[in-house]
Symmetry: C4
Subunit: 290 residues, 4 copies
Amino acid sequence: MTTPTETSSYLGKPLDGWRLKLFTIIFEADTRAGRLFDQCLIFAILVSVAVVAMGSVGAVADRVGIWFEVLEWVFTLLFTAEYVARLLCVRHPMRYALSFYGVIDLLALLPTYVALLVPEVSALIDVRVLRLLRVFRVFKLTAYVQEYQALARALAASRRKISVFLSAVLMIVLVMGTLMYVVEGPVNGFTSIPTSVYWAVTTMTTVGFGDITPKTDLGRFIASCMMLLGWGTLAVPTGIVTSEMASLRGAPAPATTRTCHECLTEGHLPEARYCLHCGAHLSPYFRDIP
Amino acid sequence: MTTPTETSSYLGKPLDGWRLKLFTIIFEADTRAGRLFDQCLIFAILVSVAVVAMGSVGAVADRVGIWFEVLEWVFTLLFTAEYVARLLCVRHPMRYALSFYGVIDLLALLPTYVALLVPEVSALIDVRVLRLLRVFRVFKLTAYVQEYQALARALAASRRKISVFLSAVLMIVLVMGTLMYVVEGPVNGFTSIPTSVYWAVTTMTTVGFGDITPKTDLGRFIASCMMLLGWGTLAVPTGIVTSEMASLRGAPAPATTRTCHECLTEGHLPEARYCLHCGAHLSPYFRDIP
Amino acid sequence: MTTPTETSSYLGKPLDGWRLKLFTIIFEADTRAGRLFDQCLIFAILVSVAVVAMGSVGAVADRVGIWFEVLEWVFTLLFTAEYVARLLCVRHPMRYALSFYGVIDLLALLPTYVALLVPEVSALIDVRVLRLLRVFRVFKLTAYVQEYQALARALAASRRKISVFLSAVLMIVLVMGTLMYVVEGPVNGFTSIPTSVYWAVTTMTTVGFGDITPKTDLGRFIASCMMLLGWGTLAVPTGIVTSEMASLRGAPAPATTRTCHECLTEGHLPEARYCLHCGAHLSPYFRDIP
Amino acid sequence: MTTPTETSSYLGKPLDGWRLKLFTIIFEADTRAGRLFDQCLIFAILVSVAVVAMGSVGAVADRVGIWFEVLEWVFTLLFTAEYVARLLCVRHPMRYALSFYGVIDLLALLPTYVALLVPEVSALIDVRVLRLLRVFRVFKLTAYVQEYQALARALAASRRKISVFLSAVLMIVLVMGTLMYVVEGPVNGFTSIPTSVYWAVTTMTTVGFGDITPKTDLGRFIASCMMLLGWGTLAVPTGIVTSEMASLRGAPAPATTRTCHECLTEGHLPEARYCLHCGAHLSPYFRDIP
């Protein structure tokens, strides 16, 4: 559809005319048109995900399966058109294609096309739900995102503690799984060390499916110790998150969805003239008076 | 029972005589009669709920089922009489009927009558238990409610964080459920995407029923990651609630159950002369010397 | 063994001679003899509990059951002798018999004797383990108890919040259980409302046994909502305990096990001359130089 | 391999020449060689653990089992050589052999040799994963360990609270298990008191395997109470850890892996001249300029 020669003529050139307009609508959400576009997009994603989920239910698929397939292709073509539009209106298409949202947008399209060759992957169309991460962009101007960023900062701040904690948990789980494999053995369902480790994770996280359970007295004793140990251990992430949240309270959130044409960084202030990330000159800012 | 003409003659008129008396008894709990009424009401609700619950046990129903049906109708008629009395003694019956407690009071009556036509709903009579929310009114003068309000404020304060968190959890659960549907497939019990999502919720919340469990090695590996991820994720609400509770400590609670005749707002101070919500003139305050 | 005439002659008289000595050994733990007595007692309780627990294992009972029965009677007679000694050496035997520890001491003896008539209760001998609460007395001089009291104070301080929380949880569980009973019905294992409520508790507390599970799509949807709701709700007690623990930090613990002869209150300071609870004159204090 | 006469001639003598060099490489991680050694060691441990785990999977073992056995012996001989090298280059071999890491290093070797006689223990080779604790040494210079020590300090600080809490939980679990054994009995799967206690632990920690579940109404009622009680009780460790973590924030971590030749204490400052633990004279410090 977009042949290299067509798009390459635009590459790297400053955005103006219809490309600037399209960019403002598709990438930003501060004008009325931009907000409307994002809301339609989110609605389309939700319906499309619901269609795929419903289509997997046997009874439903038998009755209206053909309509679902049609709907599904409609959505896929719509999203493909949107993806192409995004590529067209940014200054450096590759930079968008390799960005976080760019990869997700592509991943949301691929399964439908791949399913033509390998039918089994058709269910993966549901990764489309990841596109809903855009939902936070629409609400960016509201206070929701402030909370979202507090969460992200809290997790980033405890990144190291979490690594140490996870490696400790993995060691405990591996040793305990091996021990149970030796004690219970394949006869009681602990068929291999990986299976025993899976059981140990199930037990330590207090999920406890019950598909594999210790049968011997010694095994049950070890399992009891593991559960008590597990609770103590798993109080740690709660402690980490809680103490981080208590110390991280409400830094102000970016006020706009204004997006740099060069590096696609978001959240520039209305009065900003240069990108705070790459230093590129920012184009004039379009925003409806609220 | 209460024909429109009967009640409409009272509509909007200030309460006096027996209506004022009845209002003070039924809606407020600061006089001895008002407190006694509320206590009898709560006792009746508890017994009525117990009767419905017991009536669903096969062995009990066979022996004394007929008595339970009689008791059940006695309670329903009692509650109907109370509902009518409430409608009669308030100044704007519709305003009460559409208020939070008014809707619950009606919902507690309907199932018995509806069950005459559609027998299956008879168990729903147990929504009657929601009327027990009134229990907090009786204790309103005690310190219990202060704690209750602290909880409500804590939840209201973290409303936004909780929305962001819930939407993130729903996305994870949807993507993970779809992934497991592809990996495990209908053969291993993951019969459709909704079923797989149900399994994912079961796993992430560490409930782990075990009615559906992964059987393949890859599925078990993904499930193990989900459980560890789930614990980390679900430490967040605990962190939210804890940090909110730490910052919200003990604002004083309303001291009375005095209720505005116009808008049914509660908790006016004994010395108040006008409703703090709608500005209406309050009638003199009746209260037993404690 | 202790006829009324024998003991009544001592009743209410100040303790002296062997009764004072015995009182110091049995009730206090600040002298070497007192500490030794408590340690032997705890050892005896532990062994006795282990004997009862082991005796319930079929394979073990078949081989050495007769010895366990003998041991069990030896312990019961020992504990009976101790109970009588306690009654003998306190000033007001009834006050001891009705005190917290007095009731537990009696409860630990009764099952063996009652089991002579009603053999089924013999397993209840294990309530004997409650006597281990005395273990905290031995460590009273150490810092352990300070922590223990901090826990107790934290729980007492959040007593009201916990009541409100529990009543809210009970309402949710009752309404949800009823709803699932209507939706799933006896065919899918929800045989009665009490059973459905048991299932709802299982689900809300994230235990998730899996003996009863929803089978219909609607039931699974409601169950998913309940699990998410349950996690949110159950973050509250953690929040309560955590915020209480953060505000309650280390008040000094009682320094002795010195016990008032009148009202059996413990923890009087070495230099105290009158009971801080009932104002009775305290007898001189016996304590080994550590 | 290392005959007593060979090694004893070195015993207690100050380290110099190749022994000092070897000591710096094996025990410390501040030089390039030392860091490389530790990284290879960790890689070898990871591969070796993976080999043992994979070897337990039936399908894999059938195909490439012989190679795994060979690999396994290669790793064991490597680790044996390393263990001997460690013994050779420390001043007091016994002190190392009895230290924490010394015991783990030996435990990681033994199962392979013992498995020659008793084949069942071969799976225990996976205790080798405990050697990964050394991984924290490599990262000692990074900030990871600061977090790790904060965790360790938090756990050590709440040591006493945790003991009191654990003993309380054990008592509750024992009494509840006994009660359920009496109420449900062997017919419903509660075959003995230890089994019932195992079930009680399963329930209180919210794991809920579901291999044993109450069948009677009374049993289900008690189980429901236990679950609610369990949640309340298990909020305590979370509260303990959280409040400890909030009060313990970031004391600086030791900056080196410099190890005393006498007592094997780690973390001496670059400028230190005497061991801070045993007062021995420290040898000059080798460190690459970063």
